[in-house]
Amino acid sequence: MSQVAILFGAVAASLSLFAACGGDDADRRVIQITQTNEACTPDAVDLTAGEKVKFEIKNESSKDKEIEGIEGTKLDELLVPAGKTRTLNYTAPGKAGVQKVKCYIPGGATTIISLNVR
């Protein structure tokens, strides 16, 4: 049995290593996004190139709302349950341009939020 213990000890150790990789940095600018039944506000956000921010998304609607980067914007897909607040970290690209984020109720109201990177 000792071999079993070693084998699975090794697996557990390597898994916890993966989990420990990377940490959240605390000093990000917080940008609040509010989701309602009709829309998401604001629909435009100004960022500087390479800026690291934290989106704090508050769902005040009666449905679970989805938020995700579209057209190549590197923002993870996230479902914010109705009445809940969730956070998402985002790093603006190094070049100026407009990045797009889709904020919507599946099959319902959709807002495209423009991230204007300067």
Binding site: Q3, V4, F18, A19, R86, L88, P106
Partner: protein, 287 residues
């Protein structure tokens, strides 16, 4: 990364075991000239499985918005069904697998056809490969990128090393325990995947409401933190799970785990009286 590592390790060991049994048996009966046929079969299986995995990935990119979510949701459910079946199948087959494979090799050789050996290796390994492709695709909806691929490569690398040890004749490898423990892990991964499938179907607009969410542990472990994502892919963690998700998770995990651990599924191999063949030796190649 942990998810793809576990999946590839488990499936990889199954494949390695099959290859080691085939090669070990050919070595024992002095038919080493057929080694290339086995490897050719493995190559064919790998090519087909990679093509199918790539096909799933391309299909999911070509489809648009809500159809993708539906496709992903149903793939997750399908993967759970297949994975559960395979965990039980492996438990049942482990005893007789070596004997069966050797009988198939004898059949193939008696037909005097190298192609039959290639086909045997390709189908035996390919079945495991298809399972891997399906599970990895379904799991990639929750995690992705370079780490996901790295985890899979590491899992296969460790599995290959274990395969070499099996071939070298190490009867002391605790394979039965490995399949038992990794089977439990697969069932837990599958429970998380099943619980997250309705979220995809909600995103696809096929489910109108996921139901009430009895608690919110977001401030304790955020679903978007590294720890939260890690626990999400391995255990299906959700900071505010809905009743539907909770019901699916526990309604699947508890009975399936109990059945896997305690139902006597092991098929007893018929043995000549007086022979004391242990489980480990039936798994070992070329005996």
């Amino acid at each position: 990364m942990g998810f793809s590592f576990l999946v590839c390790l488990r499936e990889g060991v199954e494949m390695a075991l099959i290859v080691a049994i085939l090669l070990g048996y050919l070595r024992t009966i002095g038919q080493k000239q057929h080694f290339p046929a086995v490897w050719m079969g493995v190559g064919v299986a790998a090519a087909v499985c990679i093509a199918i995995g790539a096909g799933l990935e391309i299909a999911s990119r070509e489809l648009d918005g809500r159809v993708v979510e539906a496709f992903e949701g149903f793939t997750m459910i399908f993967a759970v069904v297949i994975l559960t079946g395979m965990a039980f199948w492996m438990k049942k087959q482990a005893r007789g697998m070596s004997r069966e494979l050797r009988a198939h090799v004898d059949q193939a050789l008696s037909r005097g056809s190298v192609a039959a050996v290639v086909l045997l290796a390709a189908t035996s390994v390919g079945r495991e490969g298809l399972e891997t492709a399906l599970f990895l695709f379904a799991g990639s909806q929750n995690a992705g990128g370079a780490n996901y691929i790295l985890g899979g490569v590491l899992g296969f690398a460790v599995a290959a090393a274990i395969g070499v040890m099996i071939y070298a004749g190490s009867n002391r490898l605790p394979l039965k325990a490995f399949f038992q423990v990794s089977g439990v892990m697969v069932i837990v991964l599958a429970a998380g995947m099943l619980a997250n499938s309705p979220v995809k179907l909600y995103e696809a607009g096929l489910i109108d409401d996921l139901g009430s969410r009895p608690w919110d542990t977001e401030s304790f472990i955020s679903i978007t933190s590294h720890t939260g994502k890690f626990l999400h892919t391995l255990l299906g963690y959700d900071s505010a799970p809905s009743m539907l998700q909770l019901t699916l998770y526990w309604g699947y995990a508890v009975p399936v785990l109990l059945a896997f651990l305690f139902l006597p599924l092991g098929r007893r191999p018929r043995r000549p009286a007086g022979s004391a063949v242990t489980h480990e030796t039936t798994l070992a190649p070329g005996r």
